[in-house]
Amino acid sequence: MTMSLGSLNERPIAVDELSDNPLREGLKVERAAGPCAIIIFGASGDLTRRKLIPALYRLAQRRLLSPNFAVLGIARTEMSDEEFRQRMRDAVIENEEQTFDERTWQSFASGLRYEAADLSDAGAYTRMIASLQRLEGERQTEGNRLFYLATAPELFSTIIERLGECGLTRAEAGRWTRIIIEKPFGYDLASARELNARIARFFGEDQIYRIDHYLGKETVQNLFALRFANSIFESVWNRNHIDHVQITNAETLGVEGRGGYYERAGALRDMIQSHVLQVVSLIAMEPPTSLSGDDVRDEKMKALAAVRPIKDVKESAVRGQYGPGFVLGERVVGYREEPGVDPQSTTETFAALKLQIDNWRWAGVPFYVRSGKRLPKRVTEVAIRFKDVPHNLFTANGESLSANLLIIRIQPNEGITLRFNVKLPGQAMRLRPVNMDFRYSASFGITLPEAYERLLLDCMLGEATLFARRDMIERSWEIVMPVLEAWAAEKPDFPNYAAGTWGPQAADELIERDGRRWRRL
């Protein structure tokens, strides 16, 4: 395809040629997004103001957005373009107080438009197309489109179908059309499959970007670097050296006013099915042949496929719900007393699973995962517990040896710790475990970029590695379904842990049955 150059009377430039740019070579930032329009459905919502627009603004500030870039925000709330810009400006200033630059904002904001529309109404799409085309003409976005579904999940299917019916889902040659879908992706396996099937009717898999902001986190990406850029870890990364793996995702927060949403979700759906299983796959995967989209995702998928189906739910899964208690020195109410929550709620705010991965690398190495709200500390980490030494030379001195641990801290205090034993100074052979710490903040000092920044840019560049693929989503639902079904069939005895403790007693028993313990965090 070629485009004419207007006043310049020379050979037209083929659009395909645009991808290669000799002037980008060697720039600190080698790839910035090309021209495109982002259509945000749910633009008056919390996600847009807290995450999406601030991330796009930061990309603009870092010169990673094209000058020919536009946002069309859509939601029901009536607002003019100017009001929308003003709201977004306030949101960006809230996030970026120190680095906010008025002129960069003005230049960025000139590409922001808003259209009030009820997305369940078919007529809304015709109006939207007209606005979009006008905007695309003004901003010369070259027909590239990114739809962002930032509404409640109930609307996802309707929006996708309407886009399809209006012919907005297929890209013309030389242009691209992509869609980002927010989590939660489905409510269970059947609804996730149905949603996938519905999207697949209108979008090709290469157009679909299922976002899991966990994967955009710097420390999660660093798992790749740790495993595949260092020879010392990969050689011991297997059943011969590793006793078990613990993944903890602990929050001190409760449901923070989102009780209505959480009531339908629960810890297993909200955290484990999505984020935690993604982390499991990164720890368990085989080395990919390259870092490109499908090579990495194929390996992650193979790891998930090897997770043994949970048969005995009572043996392998524990759920909990917090009652009143004390967190960070403050008295807090129980889950059932939170606004928007049913006083008889059976939604779990804590879940722990024991997973087994049936392949050569991991046979016999359990992965214990837990996630909960109102726990004593906010911490997300992976702990690889190595095997004990085959023979303890120090028993004569009454010394029991601590096992080696490799701890990967995802948040906060992002970093890596290796624990090993050393001799205490003195005549006697006394041992102590010590930690060797790497902290991002101590080595690099800088603030880590926000996950949404990275993910939005990747999507505009067509780089899908950090997004979940259809098979992965369905597989992770398959893994948790037996647990969800068993739990749905039996009324739990909730609440069963006090806010500010590490979850129900049964969670300790889950791991202690195997002669192991949760790490004291």
Binding site: I13, P22, E25, P35, P67, T104
Partner: protein, 371 residues
């Protein structure tokens, strides 16, 4: 130089003949014990790299010291400052050390690096070199920040050999032609271990390169660049030279990236051959007030009489604006922070060779030789 130790938080360790490296090493050992016992708040001691800073002029000391604090936020390091002072009595030096602790954000813990400063008579150069070798942490990346006026210098070569990457600053050079020639020669010198070089003047045009690359990503911008017959590069005057390091490096970059070949100039202009056309390059001085010497102020691409693409510095000097076919484009980019600390912070993120810079330098030298 009379250093106000208290102001810089530097501990005097030695004053007199030689360098007394043993005393410096001892003091460094006790430095952290003192900090550990006196400190009321948490300190993070980081050790990500070694940084050697060579200075020949005390005038820039304040700025360099401020730059170090900024560097430590991103790259906690051991910084070895070597300040040459011709007024110091022959064969004497003074040595100081300091823990330099900074806070990236109001609530983050203080992150510390360490600084060693030698102020020495130039006749102690060989001793300085051996002191550097002892005081570098092993196995950490080592950077040289060369703030000397000439790169055609024995000690510069020697320090390059101790470093993984050397960052020079051509804005400090006495004579631009000599500077570019010695850098180009150094890069070509096969007898030296591979030297990895960069120039802060190159870093200062990064935002211009990025802005032009962005224009090249759009149809109209690309057409304007590809079909230009005349390209002019404007800059503020630089030390009475015909051009400035920034303008020359930018011109060299354009020529090397877009594969323009310089042909013998006829008259005052520079002519290049591109595949299908001839391009005239004009280097123009802009007398604008209040802008630092040698800074780029505008770049224009013309196919006819009017510029089809112009990127220029905004009046305040804080932004770069783009005009395509006379119309203001959507795009305004904020200029990066131009402080030395910020530029160095970015330089210290790189370790490998920058081939694009090397080719730009070689083209810039070619252009300079025909001026």
């Amino acid at each position: 130089m009379v250093l106000d130790d208290a102001r810089y938080g530097l501990w005097p360790i030695h004053e007199g003949p030689g360098l007394n490296v043993a005393a410096v090493e001892n003091a460094l050992r006790s430095l952290w014990t003192e900090h550990a016992t006196n400190g009321e708040e948490a300190l993070l001691r980081g050790r990500a790299l070694n940084l050697i800073v060579w200075m020949e002029d005390e005038a820039g000391f304040d700025e360099t010291q401020a730059a170090l604090d900024e560097i430590i936020i991103a790259h906690p390091c051991r910084a070895l400052f070597l300040l040459i002072n011709s007024d110091a009595p022959s064969r004497t030096a003074r040595a100081y050390i300091a823990a330099r602790c900074v806070r990236a954000e109001a609530r983050s813990p203080r992150l510390c690096g360490e600084q060693i400063l030698f102020i020495a008579n130039p006749d102690l150069q060989a001793e300085l070199l051996s002191a550097v070798a002892v005081l570098l942490y092993s196995d950490l990346p080592t950077f040289l920040w060369w703030k000397g006026a000439s790169c055609d210098d024995e000690i510069f070569y020697k320090l390059c050999e101790l470093s993984d990457r050397a960052i020079v600053d051509s804005s400090l050079s006495r004579k631009l032609h000599d500077q570019f020639r010695s850098l180009d020669r150094l890069l070509r010198d096969k007898t030296l271990d591979e030297v990895v070089l960069s120039d802060l003047e190159w870093a200062r045009i990064n935002e211009w390169r990025a802005t032009l690359a962005e224009s090249y990503d759009t149809l109209s911008g690309r057409a304007a660049i590809r079909y230009a017959r005349t390209v002019s590069i404007e800059h503020t005057p630089f030390k009475g030279e015909r051009s400035s390091p920034q303008a020359l490096l930018f011109a060299g970059w354009l020529a090397s990236r877009l594969k323009w070949r310089l042909i013998t100039p006829t008259g005052p202009s520079l002519l290049f051959d591109a595949d299908d056309r001839r391009i005239e390059l004009r280097l123009r001085q802009n007398e604008a007030q209040g802008i630092e010497p040698g800074r780029l102020t505008a770049v224009e691409f013309m196919a006819g009489a009017e510029p089809s693409l112009r990127i220029s510095l905004s009046e305040s000097g804080g932004h770069i604006e783009t005009r395509i076919s006379g119309r203001k484009s959507n795009h305004v980019a904020r200029c990066d922070d131009r402080s030395e600390g910020c530029l160095m912070r970015r330089e210290l993120e790189e370790l490998g060779r920058d081939h694009v810079y090397e080719q730009a330098l070689s083209s810039a030298l070619e252009i300079l030789e025909t001026l």
